[in-house]
């Protein structure tokens, strides 16, 4: 599919520029990196739309489609965060993930089985999109928390390395992580509610005690706890960041083990 290849190329250029930015710290490199990423997003959007139109549903049911959607939403969330906080040095860590996801989605040939009837509704499309958006926001918060912990470790060990000076301040990393989680929580809450609505339409009941439903609720509460604890005296700083990392482990568990082995009606997200 030519558009997805074009998007992949733009992501690759953007990735190189973000890495270069970490090395040179020149403003024009950063601006080009962002421009490339935005271009990739736009092209990727058309690629996704093309696919969605062919399916008359969100491309979620095969690995290729779901990875592609995840990559797009991750890039979108990151771009929003970058513009909001005016901070580009994290791009070198997020865009590689975007690129890898986009790469895998083109490597695995799409073999979308025909979508079930309920998958054609708008509510369903929104449910899928919002939940993936939440996961991508959590992924970014995870990356930011890891950088925070590394940075904090170097500061406390009184041994800052050479790239240390290029990273954003601890304070800013914390704020970016929090705003990312806030976006993720909002998307997850609405996504879960929409999921319940879909469930009611398909299965005639809101709640089925499916492991996916349970773990999604757990995530909702644990990320809310992160936001709340991160403001308290005992937890602000490194401890909150550890919590954020831990929460993302739960996200990964939900996306892998729960989807593949436990849940009855969630395959990829």
């Amino acid at each position: 599919m030519p558009t997805s290849i074009a998007a992949l190329l733009l992501y690759a250029f953007s990735l190189v520029l973000y890495l270069w930015l970490l090395y040179t710290n020149r403003p024009w490199v950063g601006i080009s990196a962002t421009t490339m990423l935005a271009g990739g997003l736009l092209v990727h959007y058309f690629s996704l739309m093309e696919r969605a139109r062919a399916l008359d549903s969100v491309p979620y049911q095969d690995l290729s489609g779901s990875l592609s959607l995840f990559a797009w939403l991750l890039a979108l969330t990151y771009l929003g965060l970058e513009m909001f906080h005016r901070q580009r040095s994290v791009g070198a860590f997020v865009v590689p993930v975007v690129f890898m996801l986009a790469l895998f989605s083109t490597v695995f040939a799409p073999h979308q089985p025909p979508a079930p009837p309920e998958a054609h509704s708008t509510v369903f499309a929104l449910h899928v999109t919002l939940n993936i958006l939440a996961y991508s926001a959590f992924a970014i918060a995870f990356v930011l928390s890891v950088i925070f912990l590394l940075q904090n470790r170097m500061l406390r060990g009184r041994a800052p390395g050479r790239t240390f000076w290029r990273f954003p301040a601890l304070e800013l990393l914390e704020r970016m992580s929090r705003s990312s989680v806030a976006v993720g929580l909002l998307a997850l809450s609405v996504g879960i509610v929409l999921g319940l609505v879909v469930s009611r339409e398909v299965r005639g009941r809101f709640w089925s005690n499916d492991p996916k439903e349970i773990i999604s609720l757990v995530l909702l509460f644990s990320y809310a706890a992160y936001l709340w604890l991160g403001r308290t005296t005992r937890w602000r700083g490194a401890r909150a960041s550890w919590l954020c990392v831990l929460n993302f482990v739960v996200v990964l568990f939900s996306l892998t083990v729960v989807n593949l082995y436990l849940s009855k009606f969630h395959r990829y997200f």
């Binding site: 500061l155 406390r156 050479r162 304070e171 490194a238």
Partner: protein, 430 residues
């Protein structure tokens, strides 16, 4: 043509002497203008001139004719006379580099390789200013223009492609950079300054440059605290009230002369409770130490003492030194490029002189002849003129390429002086 630099810097002269031979911008303009203006015998001493003067160096860059008589003593006398010093005073401190040596010197200066503080950033701007000053004053020509532009390009490249200028190089600056790594902008932060020393004052200066919102100043004696507060434009705090203000500062700088740490772990623990564990950056500049070492393990307390800051500076110094070979390589590439251009332009100049004397008509004659060709349209005339220019450029192409790629040729081309002398071509004929 010859290129020459004459000057003194921090390596050859103490600050007392450097101060006396510094040129302010007006003096720099005047000196360059005087040297390139015609003297009594109708010939200017220099073809092109530019003065670079910073607190660590005063240098005169000059382009002169290849057969100028004894330019070095003349320049040295001028240098001394300009600053009203006996020439003997400068004798041992002045250095002179010629031709490629002079070019290399300027390129290394612009790259920060010749600076007292290796890789410092200011010098590039100072070179740019010196060049712009000389350029607008009309004392530069093709050679110095090309040379300064090359130097600026080399300097920029060294900055962007090597880590020669990376990492803070002073204790005070390292401390401020660390503060920024913790808090980001310091504009909405406040700092508590306890006691004062040289490094402490530098640190306050850096904090003020970064527009820190609030400075609290405390000292054992109230008089001293208020005096310091007045000097730093801060707010004086009584020693007894110190324990009550812990919620305020994000940064603590302490440099008291005490035998025992005045800031203990227990005290800081209380402070952190009052602060709700908001991060606190404690900079202990005291010797002996002002802060109990165990306080550094408290959650969200970042404690740095003089040794740990000095260690960071030392690491940065080593990192910068490791970058020297890469920086020198970039400088060499640019020097080679300049030399190739220079040798080529020397040769072009010589060829042009010879052409002028030979049968090839000059541009005006060519124009006249073209005018006479009535059968040609204006467009065709323009085309013919362009073809003539292109042919001349083509004739230069091969020599230029050769000069660029065969370094040994450059030296030989420089010896074209011999041809010049032989043909009786003196300066000013071109």
């Amino acid at each position: 043509m010859r290129i020459l630099v004459m000057g003194i810097n921090h390596r050859t002269a103490p600050v007392e002497l450097r101060e006396r031979v510094a040129f302010d911008p007006e003096q720099a303009r005047r000196a360059a203008a005087e040297l390139t203006r015609s003297s009594r015998d109708g010939r200017p001493l220099l073809r092109e001139a530019a003065v670079l003067s910073t607190c660590n160096r005063s240098e005169l860059y000059a382009v002169l004719d290849h057969n100028a008589a004894e330019p070095i003593p003349a320049l040295r006398d001028y240098f001394a006379a300009f600053h009203r010093l006996p020439a003997a005073v400068l004798e041992s401190s002045l250095y002179v580099y010629e031709d490629a040596g002079a070019v290399r010197h300027l390129f290394r200066v612009a790259a920060g390789l010749d600076s007292m503080l290796l890789g410092e950033a200011e010098i590039l701007g100072q070179v740019r200013e010196a060049y712009q000053r000389a350029f607008t004053n009309g004392t530069t020509g093709p050679v110095l223009n090309r040379m300064f532009q090359g130097a600026l390009e080399a300097g920029r490249k060294v900055r962007s492609q090597t880590a020669l200028g990376a990492g803070p190089m002073s204790v005070a600056f390292a401390a401020v950079k660390l503060a920024e790594q913790i808090f980001g902008h310091l504009r909405e932060r406040s700092a508590l300054i306890v006691g004062a020393g040289t490094v402490g004052e530098q640190l306050v200066e850096h904090l003020r440059n970064r527009k820190i919102q609030h400075l609290l100043v405390a000292n054992r004696s109230w008089e001293r605290a208020s005096a310091l507060a007045a000097r730093f434009h801060g707010e004086a705090i009584r020693w007894e009230e110190l324990s009550r203000i812990w919620a305020q500062p994000d940064i603590v700088v302490t440099s008291l002369a005490v035998h025992e740490p005045w800031l203990t772990r227990a005290e800081l623990e209380k402070a952190m409770a009052v602060r709700g564990n908001r991060p606190l950056f404690v900079i202990d500049l005291g010797v002996p130490r002002n802060v109990e070492a165990a306080a550094g393990t408290l959650y969200n307390v970042y404690l740095y003492n003089l040794d740990s800051l000095a260690e960071i500076v030392e690491q940065n110094r080593r990192a910068r030194q490791q970058e020297i070979p890469r920086a020198e390589q970039i400088v060499e590439e640019h020097v080679a490029r300049f030399e190739a251009w220079w040798a080529a332009s020397e040769m072009v100049e010589l060829l042009r002189t010879l052409r002028h004397r030979g049968t090839v008509p000059d541009a005006a004659a060519l124009d006249q002849r073209l005018e006479r060709m009535h059968e040609l349209s204006p467009q065709e005339r323009r085309d013919l003129r362009r073809i003539a220019e292109e042919l001349l450029a083509l004739a230069r192409l091969e020599p230029e390429a050769q000069l660029r790629h065969v370094p040994a040729l450059r030296e030989r081309v420089r010896r074209l002086d011999l041809v010049r002398d032989l043909l009786g071509i003196t300066k000013g004929t071109v």
